[in-house]
Symmetry: C2
Subunit: 413 residues, 2 copies
């Protein structure tokens, strides 16, 4: 039985240009940390990610949702978690503050993720194994598929999972080899050209086959110059992704995107406003065969559905600490599977939770094991930091979702 | 100079079924009330609307934005308000909590609206007159037109206003006749059939030529029965609008919308999820010539742009206490003018602020003076409640935007 919920406000200022992009000059990586306690001594930890100011608002909203778990049996909640989630997401007064977006949805993510973490800890298995051991019906029961009916019925979601069951063994080898990682920390926005070049060399030395450069400078020539530095440093065989963090309007995105084609980027990430489905559709058509990677700021399955329906997204970057948590992440991943678009999560969780989810996506859904973003800046704060060597995430083996933080009592809030 | 900002949490539980719809069974109409004080003894009041729980989160976020006004000259802020607004909307840490939606954008609306109220009070004119007395350039300087470049440049926005200047006198008669109102309070969701019929008769007796019915019942037969009661009671010449408050998925909306066509509704409002641009596009095509009215839950200009680009909206119901306030309301109204779609605001403010804005839209932009929603339940709480007789809003004459509330110190929070 769930007996207590505690929500903590954890903030980690970054320094020396780490984490900087075209929007965020002084990032404070922050978590709303929902801690759900059962009566057996287990504590489930769920995260939502923010950038500092206002994290206390997400914490307050998470307490509102979390209190509705008290006295419940977690197994019963998880058996029909899709219903529990929809009832919370549609809570008649809180819903006005979204619906299904912003502070309230981030808060629901933290509580949802805590439920999944506790569920895995109760069964003494890592989250990826808990998810893989669920039947397709049990998986679908954890999902809220409302507002997707015209593209993904419950029956179709079930079939997507059932159809991949026979071939699972072919994909389970990844549990031994590890899941490929890419390096986001080579090309933060505020890094000097020298630093950028040194970081690129270090990334390759560390085994990474793909890395990211932040663009979106006031003067696009800066972006072009830095992009060429990266390409010249890493050579033709390393994948280079560029990330504009929404700094461009549509005409700018078309113009600068075409110039960036010279360095053959693997994708262009968040070129413009995340709500602008039609601008992305126009842009994708204008820049093809260049592909767009979208989703870091997309709050829910409905907008992802529109992204997929328009065909604008070459890669979907759904983030389980931005959408309503693990269950909505899986829902969006099923949508992507239906549309044949790879899922390459944004990792507001620094990859701690997503290292479990991409294993599930690959083995249970047959999503390509492309690579998972790696951001190292908060390693020292996690109880079980992701273990990345030679450019691969090693499969986590401890019970839960790897989201426990150290020394929480020392944080602000 | 702005010397102080106070934010209050005002909540008004409704009773006896008033305010009920398919989502909200026990509505608590609530305002985040931003009070901005200058050093001359003026206080500007700005509202954002919520439905109760979580209003305290919007209040906290409004304090964050409001504090950034302290020490500023209001005239200087308003001279380039579009820039001020964009800087706040893109504040590097708070932006993560949106962007441009949910709690943080509601908070920005309250502060923005307080600035406009104070601006009008300082000049001792009602807001509609202040807005009408601005030059087209001054109006456009108050707007943040970013992310609209491909459909509405600054030059085009200016031209839309300049082109309508010569014909303004033809439209100024409305200041004397008043702006038509429609009655939302005839058909709340929880009203009995008898109450519904009596309310319809009363609405007609009170001079209304249009009224609204809440639909979206679990059993659609209920909706159809109630819709026929309304049509049979009011006759063929009264406009009847039906409002589903997002309760339908796309297949349901198509099926029930076709059945509702029998009663010839003037529009179908909020049929499905507000983020689902493509579902609305499909639905509008399936139900034509029936028209959709959309926007009550749409948080920003970018999604409205998509609505307009797809042609799904027959009417745009932008609400200045839901989007980022007066300036974003005007921005969306300019977009609607360009696309030839009428603006019929949702009135979370109970029409207090919007009675000014629709006069501006009609006279300065040439938008049709269709009608403005009327909801009477909070009349007793406003210092200068909107004056509606014979089915018309009388033109407000007192300085400001008519948003001052009485006895604020007695409210929760």
């Amino acid at each position: 039985m769930i007996r207590k919920i505690v929500v903590k406000d954890a903030r980690f200022p970054l320094t020396n240009g780490a984490g900087s992009d075209a929007v965020h000059q002084q990032p404070v990586y922050s978590y709303t940390v929902a801690c759900v306690y059962d009566d057996k001594g287990n504590c489930g930890t769920g995260l939502a990610f923010t950038l500092g100011a206002g994290n206390e608002l997400v914490c307050a909203a998470a307490r509102f949702y979390g209190e509705q778990l008290i006295g419940k049996e977690l197994n019963e909640v998880m058996a029909t978690f899709g219903d529990w989630f929809k009832q919370r997401a549609d809570e008649q007064q809180f819903r006005w503050l979204g619906p299904h977006k912003g502070v309230v949805h981030l808060a629901l993510a933290a509580v949802t993720n805590a439920c999944y973490d506790l569920w895995a800890k109760q069964q003494q298995v890592p989250l990826w194994k808990l998810l893989l051991d669920l039947s397709p019906e049990q998986v679908v029961n954890t999902l809220d598929l409302s507002y997707l009916e015209e593209v993904l019925s419950r029956e179709e979601a079930l079939k997507l999972l059932i159809d991949m069951q026979a071939s699972r063994p072919e994909r389970e080898g990844i549990l031994r080899t590890g899941y490929p990682a890419y390096d986001t920390s080579a090309g933060w926005f505020n890094y000097s050209d020298d630093q950028l070049e040194a970081n690129c060399r270090r990334a390759i030395d560390n085994g990474f086959k793909a890395l990211k450069l932040k663009v979106g400078a006031k003067n696009p020539d800066t972006d072009i110059r830095r992009a060429h530095i990266v390409r010249n440093t890493v050579g033709a065989d390393i994948k280079v992704m560029v990330d504009a963090n929404q700094q461009w309007n549509l005409p700018q995105a078309i113009a600068i995107g075409k110039r960036l084609a010279d360095i053959n980027p693997y994708w262009i990430e968040e070129p413009t406003h995340p709500d602008d489905v039609l601008a992305h559709q126009t842009l994708a058509a204008a820049l093809q065969p260049l592909k767009l990677a979208l989703g870091e700021h997309v709050p829910n399955k409905v907008i992802f559905k529109n992204y997929l329906q328009t065909g604008c997204a070459g890669f979907i970057q759904v983030d389980a600490v931005r959408v309503g948590g693990v269950s909505e992440f899986i829902t969006v991943s099923l949508l992507c599977k239906k549309y044949g678009v790879p899922v390459v999560p944004h990792v507001g969780d620094m990859g701690q939770l997503h290292q479990h989810l991409v294993l599930f996506n690959h083995i249970a859904m047959g999503h390509e094991a492309l690579f998972l973003e790696h951001i190292p800046h908060l390693r020292a704060h996690f109880a079980e930091p992701a273990n990345i060597t030679g450019g691969f995430y090693h499969t986590p083996e401890m019970p839960g979702s790897s989201c426990d933080l150290l020394a929480l009592n020392t944080f602000a809030g």
